[in-house]
């Protein structure tokens, strides 16, 4: 990214921030506003900063073993990043598990670099105060699948099982509000306040929603990973917290990813 592009991106961000306040009593839906914002910055998404940070982390030796992640196998062979995200989650022979991107990165960081798992999972999401390495790594990896068709497999019995379990989690109603994912995401053309909601039972909706995450959240000024997306859905669902990179989150991701198969992956995206 060159300096003039960087300056323009910062200018656009400042404009968007001031516009957001004025827009409070505007009747346009959030998605319309975001669409306009997307056009404004079509040649640059602030998520690119996080992609660059992730790329550096990928290549730089780190951890007790002082190793880079360049031998990490994301499913396309050791060190292959290009197109890897478009086929995740998938079954990995070495761990005998179906893994999404973040749980796979966790495996690589612990095995190749020797970083204790608890050090990574204690704060797996970025905050205003501190970026998250695993999250930046994820942003880098997904960026290398931009424009690649999503082909997530359910051929392996464990992949099929993860899909089936994910579907059940999607429809699992519980908690003080009786909410499941499906309460808000199984009907077309509905919204919460002004926020449009994708219907995951409809292919086109599932594709555009899934393929635009991870994403830079304008309201938070942070690039958010897919594990974060699920985490915050469960918060609003009034559920307890899903453990980071747990089997439940991977299975749900599997269900959503397969629902989005055939889409051209378009992330990292840009959201309200």
């Amino acid at each position: 990214m060159n300096t003039s592009r960087l300056t323009r991106m910062i200018l656009v961000l400042a404009l968007a921030a001031s516009g957001a306040a004025q827009a409070a009593d505007d009747s346009a839906s959030d998605s319309d506003k975001i669409e306009a914002y997307r056009e404004m910055i079509s040649d640059g998404n602030p998520a690119e900063f996080d992609e660059m940070r992730g790329e550096e982390l990928w290549k730089k030796p780190a951890g007790p073993k002082n190793a880079s992640l360049e031998k990490c196998d994301l499913g396309k062979g050791a060190g292959v990043v290009k197109g890897a995200y478009a086929s995740l989650p998938r079954y990995f022979k070495d761990t005998k598990k179906v893994q999404d991107l973040e749980s796979r990165l966790l495996t690589c960081m612990t095995t190749l670099q020797g970083i204790p798992e608890a050090d990574i999972t204690a704060k797996p999401f970025a905050s205003d105060k501190k970026p998250s390495d695993i999250s930046s790594l994820a942003t880098y990896v997904v960026g290398q699948s931009k424009g690649i068709k999503m082909t997530v497999s359910t051929k392996h019995p464990k992949e099929k099982e993860a899909y089936e379990i994910g579907k059940r989690i999607f429809n699992y109603r519980a908690g003080p509000y009786d909410f499941a994912c499906s309460t808000c995401h199984a009907t077309s053309d509905v919204r919460i306040r002004m926020q449009d909601l994708p219907n995951f039972n409809v292919k086109a909706d599932a594709q555009s929603a899934y393929s635009s995450w991870p994403a830079y959240r304008v309201s938070q000024g942070l690039t958010r990973s897919f594990q974060w997306r699920l985490n915050d859905c469960f918060r609003q669902q009034r559920f307890p917290e899903p453990k980071f990179a747990s089997e439940a989150t991977v299975a749900l991701t599997m269900y959503l990813a397969v629902s989005a198969n055939g889409a051209d992956y378009a992330g990292p995206g840009l959201k309200r």
């Binding site: 009593d25 009747s27 099982e161 089936e164 379990i165 059940r168 989690i169 429809n171 699992y172 109603r173 519980a174 908690g175 003080p176 509000y177 009786d178 909410f179 499941a180 499906s182 309460t183 808000c184 009907t187 053309d189 509905v190 919204r191 919460i192 306040r193 002004m194 926020q195 909601l197 469960f234 918060r235 609003q236 009034r238 559920f239 307890p240 917290e241 899903p242 453990k243 747990s246 089997e247 439940a248 989150t249 299975a251």
Partner: protein, 217 residues
């Protein structure tokens, strides 16, 4: 072995596998259901006020999940009756409170998440899913519009009682409704539910606007 014999074997193998997979289907489903429950119970943890045991389903939640919110009629009736029995009606026999307090409550989408504090009072979350006051344009559409709700129905006691019951426990009327059970689950107090009944029914409430143009919407 001739071609005919081979064909015969192939057909019987196919038939056998069809029968097998049909039986295995339901067995597999049960196994998957059990595994899902096991995973959910293991993979969620306490955070703030949201304790891990929130994933444990009651009878109604389990049935609605199993049947994807489309439970068979007989079971639906049974579930609704069980929910209706649990409604605590106001002891003073009054159902309407203050619509102004109700409007404030309807606006608030807070409450019960792990980022809410124990001392935070949950809101009604009404505008998240419903249109109510004609003046509020940032309303959700998961639930039906309630604009002019009282105008259409009046304030007869049976209407008030029905609205109170719906807010207290929507599932007593429709087992797998999307709407939370605000009284049943202890989200809102009796007084708060009365305020919401007033918001919907009071002729002075902005839900029932007097000017014809808003009313026509």
């Amino acid at each position: 072995m001739n071609a005919k014999q081979l064909f015969g074997i192939a057909v019987s193998v196919c038939l056998a596998s069809v029968t097998f997979s049909a039986q295995a289907g339901s067995k597999d489903d049960k196994k998957l259901d059990a595994k899902t429950t096991e995973i959910i119970k293991r993979d969620f943890r306490d955070k703030g006020i949201a304790k891990a045991d929130r994933v444990n389903q009651d009878e109604l939640q389990a049935a609605c999940s199993k049947y994807l919110d489309d439970v068979p009629d007989k079971l639906k009736g049974k579930l609704e009756a069980a929910q209706a029995k649990e409604i605590k009606w106001p002891a003073d026999g009054k159902y309407m409170g203050d619509w102004k307090a109700g409007e404030k409550l309807a606006q608030s989408g807070r409450g019960m998440t792990w980022s809410d504090k124990p001392e935070d009072t949950p809101g009604g979350n009404c505008y998240n899913c419903h249109r109510l006051s004609a003046k509020e344009i940032a309303y959700g559409t998961i639930g039906p519009s309630l604009l002019n709700y009282g105008k259409k129905r009046g304030t007869k006691e049976e209407v008030q009682r029905s609205v109170y019951g719906h807010i207290y426990n929507a599932k007593a009327y429709n087992a797998c409704a999307n709407m939370p059970r605000f009284g049943h689950m202890g989200i809102l107090t009796e007084a708060q539910i009365k305020d919401l009944v007033a918001l919907l029914l009071d002729p002075e409430s902005p839900v029932n606007p007097k000017d014809a143009s808003a009313a026509a919407k």
